[in-house]
């Protein structure tokens, strides 16, 4: 009898902790959501929730997915912002030069992929570690943009010369859903399929866990790493197209604003996921979490710099929570 109670008693809290560990990210999201709903009357309105999705979610989600590909092969891409900028520059410049929007958009995607390919050469070709290689790309990319724009002048599209398709990409809507949001959804779905259903995704994640095993199994690990970085550049380019179509201007080095939040979202998703490895749903929830915090802090009337403090504290809190619950669960 006493034996039985001592055996079953700890299993109930353990089950509770298990639930918390397995759903830490969703629980964190619900908590933050509830706090802001109580703190600000305007937070829980349709208009504000839409604004979170459009302003705080779409672009960062796409860039963070690009980052997730680089992290999935055990790397990191500090130049995602560079790919955003190069795509934006090519897109806006070609539209300004009178090229069809479709051609300009393809060129933009190509420019982003080229940044990824440059990283791929440094990482898979020469063998430089991803962090260092993409740091170099970040520096060089920033300077190339300044050279192209005479020291950093924005490239504006005149209000009269904006093609309809360009405007549609940034501000349009299909059945009431903003086009950027639809593109983000397509990116999320596509990335999920590639990482979880395709052979490439399985190999990529295996490389992230143990490169040598993959190589000894006769799989070309380097080629897969290269593809992951080119994909990262290509996906970031999608964000670049949407960004420039929304604001109808290219501002040099504006993409680097996404970098730290993209890293934050990806690692929140990785750390708090059940499997502890990079995954698209985790990244997307991480972006939502960051977006809700940024929006909520703004609504509660705090200064903009509290947003940064909030983001930092949030990442701390989430990580500490994850660590404590994990240790209890395994104890």
């Amino acid at each position: 009898m006493t034996l039985q109670t001592s055996a079953t008693a700890p299993s109930i809290p353990r089950a509770v902790i298990g639930v918390i560990v397995n759903n830490a990210l969703v629980l964190a999201l619900i908590t933050v959501f509830a706090i802001f709903s109580l703190a600000s009357p305007t937070f829980l309105t349709i208009a504000n929730l839409q604004s979170i999705l459009v302003n705080n979610f779409t672009l960062l989600a796409i860039v963070a997915i690009a980052m997730t590909f680089a992290v999935s092969v055990g790397g990191i891409d500090l130049s995602v912002g560079t790919a955003v900028d190069f795509a934006s520059f090519a897109f806006v410049s070609l539209v300004l030069a009178g090229q069809p929007v479709a051609v300009a958009a393809l060129a933009g995607l190509g420019a982003g992929a080229a940044v990824g390919a440059f990283n791929a050469v440094l990482i898979s070709g020469i063998g430089i570690s991803p962090f260092l290689a993409t740091l170099g790309t970040l520096f060089i990319g920033r300077s190339i943009q300044q050279l192209l724009t005479n020291g950093g002048n924005p490239v504006y599209l005149p209000p009269s010369g904006i093609p309809e398709a360009f405007r549609f990409l940034g501000r349009g809507a299909i059945a009431g859903i903003p086009v950027p949001l639809i593109l983000a959804a397509i990116t999320i779905l596509g990335a999920t399929v590639i990482l979880t259903r395709a052979r490439f995704g399985r190999v990529a994640l295996a490389i992230g866990i143990q490169t040598s095993v993959v190589r000894y199994s006769g799989i070309a690990a380097r080629a897969h790493v290269a593809v992951a970085f080119i994909l990262a550049g290509l996906i970031a380019a999608v964000a670049g197209l949407i960004l420039s179509a929304t604001v109808t201007v290219y501002i040099p080095s504006s993409g680097s604003a996404f970098l730290l939040n993209a890293i934050g979202a990806t690692f929140i998703g990785t750390t708090l996921s059940r499997l502890g490895r990079p995954n698209i749903p985790g990244t997307v929830l991480g972006v939502l979490l960051l977006g809700i915090v940024a929006n909520g802090l703004l609504l509660t009337g705090l200064n903009f710099y509290w947003q940064q403090v909030g983001t930092g504290l949030l990442i701390f809190a989430v990580l500490a929570l994850s660590f404590i619950t994990r240790r209890k669960a395994s104890a």
């Binding site: 020469i126 260092l132 020291g151 380097r222 934050g264 690692f267 990580l319 660590f323």
Partner: protein
Amino acid sequence: MTSIIDETAPPVPRSANTSAATSTWLADLGTTLRSGAVFILLAALLIGFSTAEPAFANLGNLMSILQAVAVVAILGAGVTVTLAVGGFDLSIGAIAASSVMAASYAMIVWGLDTYATVPLVLAFGALIGLVNAFLIVRLKVPDLLATLSMMFLLSGLQLIPTAGRSISAGLILPNGTTASGAYDPAFLLIGRASLFGIVPVSVVLMALVAIALFVLTERTRIGRLLFATGGNEIATRLAGASTARLKTLAYVISGTLAALGGIVVAARVGRGDVSSGGSLLMDAVAAALIGFTVLGKRRPNVLGTIVGAVFVGVLLNGLTMLNAPYYTQDFVKGAVLVGALALTYGTGRSTSS
């Protein structure tokens, strides 16, 4: 967590078992060239710039180059130590920027003098380093993530005491009162004075930091254990060393040096500018990475970091003198970084990815 430095890259000495004596000789020459590449390039740059622009070679300009790189070199030395234990500190730029604000706040709002401000700010940096270490060592948070959130936190927190304003004498505080203090003239000497009228104090500080950390990392048992921790943490722990303490030491050194860098910036600028310290992180990291190639070490080393910082400083100063636009600077930094990395990792590696 991904490791920043690919530890699988072994230093591959060119083996001397080829039969032909000439090829060994060539291989030796190749090794020598590679390990001395940065010095040879540096010499070439100095000669090239001096011939193109005679004003480049005068002592005043050379000292101004050193003064310009002093802060980056001091922060870079800290980066070197965290790289040595296999970690990474993304918060150094933010620590330096907060230290600029903290030093200004201490003097202008609290009216402290130099002898109270400097220890206070250094203690602040050490404390942040300790918090980083706690997160990384005790809570097992991945190093990039812990220091990244610290960076966010600091860059927001530093603005709060003054509600986002820069700090200079006569600052109006958020509660409406005017700050009464001012920058201590003795404090400004740290950034502006020169020893014997030739060597700037900041360059002296850089040299002291370089010597102290060189001795610590290359000549003491602790230094060897720091590198051992970065090489194989578990083996080091099993060998009886406290890797937790070693990593804590590394982050505390990194935080303190970042604060010292901030003090030098504050003393040079003479006010608490909210935007200072923006590019310090990337520049310091770049200097530390360029340092890998110096003397063919292929690992973080303090001497290399200082040489790396000076190398970039010479290049930028020379280009500026030759009227290159300011925006070529990042390109040069990036190209040097990639070149140095290709030199470190590209040659002598057969299998990798």
